[in-house]
């Protein structure tokens, strides 16, 4: 899928080679040592200048710099472009090219006041025409943008209005008080008016870096844009290198050929080796990956809500975090909204194997036996599955863990087998998360769950203009998902990111990466 957790972004071979590497490397370090702590020195202020070298998994051999495309080269986007709105470090919305935004009384029309004095890399001034054009480009069927599925039901491209050069008015088809949050997606980076055709190659945006070279699935380079509206970035340039194999990426870091591994969650053995190296270290992005055990609610026995409830009550998420993550993460308690999200509620049903046993008995499934599919696609799938198996045994549920091929995992197993292990990157705004993954009939609804009361609640939440009341409604939605939904969320895992010890000012959360502030020591 063209989301950032694209199955094709990780090589099958990585598993085998990484196994070889970790077997070789973990021999001398204590296998039970806790996963590494962030290196202290990487938080000092960077020196100005220098070239940062980033190794990245290519999106595809046909990847492009068009932000709206399903095959966009993710790492380049934040360096080259800006959005209207971004997500701040605290999870709330922050200004990017829009300085402020407000809805009308019913949240049916949104007005964005745009920043003045912003220029594109080719010298043109940024105006509301560019913002409107970008939205129309995303909605254009020919673009086939993944975010179009989210935005198309809400807005009509013909209805966009630009009363002056710095005002964009967006009338919506249905009220949505969360609309600006949907524009924080990485498909929504702003391109210049009329630039859709060229965007894939030229990468002209308003971002802190401008493009020097780009090769799909190959090397590329961006250089500092001195006229960037928020000031010049710390670095002089960034070189991006495409390295598909995960262990090859780690080797490049260890050998000092690159400074940062993007979209790479190091496995524990490799992380220890990296942390022990004198060139590189490991830093954590808190709760960056959201792990799910989706139960297909259209397949027996999960059609019965009591069985789903029993499956959830039967296991202890704290146990899964301890065993599968060695503590490097947070227990999910079957709530898909990450703890960092302002809408997250901490209340949840308690672990209760006795109640699970009781529910199964009532549902006529005493001594339930289920098959749980996993694969080498992600190093945490199998540990998570085994930890679940172990924990659920106390409630009398027998789980058989089956391993499937990694390269066809997302076409053969996901949304096909009744129970399997999967994950997403966190960073979706709460409305998009529910609408895309939990609403009945939505495109990524991996549990095929459809609950009219839940969908109606989402509609009410979207239309609610009072922030506190809206947050309460999203809280209620979380309660329903925990209670009746098909998704088990055992854990949020920290991403272990390999970086050079020379990197300073690295800051990443969700789909936000601080390209402006990152730099190097002694550059």
């Amino acid at each position: 899928m063209p989301d950032i957790h694209d199955p094709r972004r990780r090589s099958v071979l990585a598993g085998a080679a990484a196994l070889g590497a970790s077997w070789l490397l973990s021999g001398c370090t204590g296998a039970s040592a806790a996963p590494v702590q962030p290196g202290g020195e990487t938080h000092e202020a960077p020196d100005s200048g220098g070239t940062l070298r980033i190794a990245r998994p290519p999106a595809s051999d046909a990847e492009t710099l068009d932000p709206a495309s399903a095959l966009s080269a993710y790492e380049y986007l934040g360096a080259l472009y800006n959005r209207l709105v971004r997500v701040g470090a605290d999870g709330s919305l922050a200004a990017d090219l829009a300085e402020s935004w407000e809805p009308d009384a019913k949240a049916r029309t949104w007005t964005f006041r745009l920043r003045k004095g912003v220029t594109f890399h080719d010298g043109r001034a940024f105006t509301s025409a560019d913002a409107a054009y970008t939205l129309r480009h995303i909605l254009d069927k020919a673009t086939a943008s993944p975010q179009a599925a989210v935005l198309a039901p809400l807005l009509d491209p013909g209805a966009l209005r630009t009363p002056d050069a710095h005002t964009l008015v967006v009338p919506l088809k249905t009220p949505n008080a969360e609309f600006p949050s949907l524009l924080t997606h990485y498909n929504c980076y702003v391109i210049p008016d009329g630039g859709a055709r060229a965007a894939g190659r030229t990468g002209i945006g308003t971002g802190p870096f401008k493009l020097e070279s780009f090769t799909p699935a190959g090397p590329g380079r961006v250089v500092a844009f001195a006229d960037h509206w928020a000031g010049r970035p710390v670095l002089d340039a960034i070189s991006f290198y495409s390295v598909a194999d995960m262990s090859a990426r780690s080797n490049a870091l260890l050998a000092g050929q690159v400074d940062l591994l993007s979209q790479t969650n190091l496995d524990f053995a490799t992380a220890r080796v990296v942390a022990a190296s004198d060139r590189a270290t490991v830093t954590r992005v808190k709760d960056a990956q959201w792990y799910v055990l989706p139960m297909l609610t259209t397949e027996k026995p999960f059609t019965d809500v009591r069985v789903r409830q029993a499956m959830k009550l039967a296991y202890d998420p704290e146990h899964v975090v301890k065993v599968a993550l060695q503590g490097a993460g947070t227990a999910g308690w079957d709530n898909p909204v990450p703890p960092s999200d302002p809408a997250h509620i901490s209340a949840h049903p308690a672990h209760d194997p006795e109640q699970a046993r009781h529910l199964l008995k009532r549902a006529g499934h005493e001594g339930l036996a289920v098959e749980l599919y996993t694969s080498a696609y992600d190093p945490l799938f199998t540990p998570m599955a085994l930890a679940y198996q172990d924990s659920a045994r106390r409630a009398g549920i027998r789980v058989k863990v089956r391993t499937a091929a990694a390269d066809s995992y997302y076409t053969q197993i996901w949304m096909k087998k009744p129970l399997m292990a999967t994950y997403w990157f966190t960073g979706r705004p709460v409305d998009q998360l529910f609408t895309q993954i939990f609403r009945g009939g939505s495109s990524y609804n991996e549990t095929a769950w459809s609950d009219a009361a839940f969908d109606a609640l989402l509609d009410r939440a979207r239309a609610e203009t009072d922030d506190t009341r809206r947050r309460d409604l999203y809280g209620e939605a979380q309660t329903i998902v925990m209670d009746r939904g098909g998704a088990m969320t055992p854990m949020f895992a920290d991403r272990l990111v390999g970086i050079s010890r020379a990197v300073r000012g690295y800051a990443e959360h969700g789909f936000e990466f601080d390209y402006l502030g990152i730099g190097l020591k002694g550059a």
Binding site: R8, A17, A21, L25, V243
Partner: protein
């Protein structure tokens, strides 16, 4: 002799034909609906049906095979489903990069292992033999990606002499690739050498026990002359076949090693095309590998014939 040649060549052509059929069938049998796999997670049924039509998957298999073979014979392998570029050019660029590794590997492995094999054979059951035999057996038993990883650890990470990975794409120049060629070549050579060492050792032992070597010795020739002029040519003969087979094995061996080093060769192309279900590329890579394999075998047979009078004259004496 001509009959022998004709027989060998026609056998090779037959093998190629059969392998093209097998390649085609194997690709058809890949798990997962091809159109669904290509479109990924958020494919709609309409899009899948449209792509199936565009790929011609709704036509009978033999028809598609005939089309594909017809194109391939004219050097047209179709268009990549992913990059939308002609497959032929893409495969050629990657193949050239792999040839660089293969050339260096063969040079290392053949010269090194023949020397070692001859030494082991001449010092049979003495310590040089034991040392060489043990080390080469270990080299043979360890998978190539482990050898590659160990080499990276030693010569890229602990001692930063060589790059650990290639950071360039398939259109990198020879100058850009050259520093990165040595470690993969060494990894492949280590695995490959063992076979050649064992073979060279055995033939040297056989030959040195032969009557004509005894005669040469009795004539009072120096041992150096006995070995280089009399023993070696005969000992090389069976080794030649093993070398050719190993060159053919390289085609598969590079697949793993190239991925460890992110080297933009045919092996990396093979893996990424399988993951992307880029059928035209998979088929072209597999077919090209089959050609390399068959040609190597043919070369081994013909080489053996050229060196062996018995084979060369068999047609006539009968």
């Amino acid at each position: 002799m001509l009959a022998f040649l004709a027989r060998r060549v026609s056998a090779a052509v037959g093998t190629l034909f059969l392998s093209s059929v097998l390649v085609f069938l194997a690709v058809q049998a890949l798990p997962g609906d091809v159109a669904g796999q290509i479109l990924g997670k958020d494919a709609t049924p309409d899009a899948v049906a449209a792509l199936r039509g565009r790929l011609g998957l709704d036509r009978p298999a033999w028809e598609r095979y005939a089309d594909w073979m017809g194109g391939a014979l004219h050097g047209d392998f179709g268009t990549s489903l992913v990059s939308q570029r002609p497959v032929g050019g893409e495969v050629a660029a990657h193949l050239a990069n792999s040839a660089l590794i293969a050339g260096v590997t063969v040079l290392f492995a053949v010269t090194g292992s023949i020397v070692l094999g001859v030494i082991a054979g001449l010092y049979r059951d003495r310590w040089p033999d034991h040392l060489i035999s043990t080390v080469s057996l270990v080299g043979m038993s360890v998978p190539e990606f482990v050898v590659a990883t160990v080499l990276v650890l030693c010569f890229s990470i602990a001692l930063p002499w060589f790059p650990a990975v290639v950071l360039y794409g398939p259109d990198a120049s020879v100058g850009q690739l050259l520093p990165a060629v040595w470690l993969p070549a060494l990894a492949l050579a280590v695995v490959m050498a063992a076979y050649i060492v064992r073979m060279a050792r055995t033939s040297v032992i056989d030959v040195m026990a032969g009557e004509y070597v005894t005669t040469a010795r009795l004539k009072g020739l120096s041992s150096w002359r006995v070995v280089t002029r009399h023993a070696l040519p005969s000992a090389l003969l069976p080794t030649l076949h093993v070398i050719a087979l190993n060159v053919a094995w390289l085609v598969g061996g590079v697949a793993v090693v190239e991925n460890v080093f992110n080297y933009p060769g045919i092996g990396k192309l093979m893996l990424s095309s399988v993951q992307n279900r880029d059928l035209p590329v998979i088929q072209a890579v597999a077919l090209v590998s089959a050609v390399v394999y068959t040609v190597c075998n043919l070369a081994a047979d013909l080489g053996a014939m050229a060196l062996n009078p018995k084979l060369r004259t068999r047609g006539r004496t009968r």
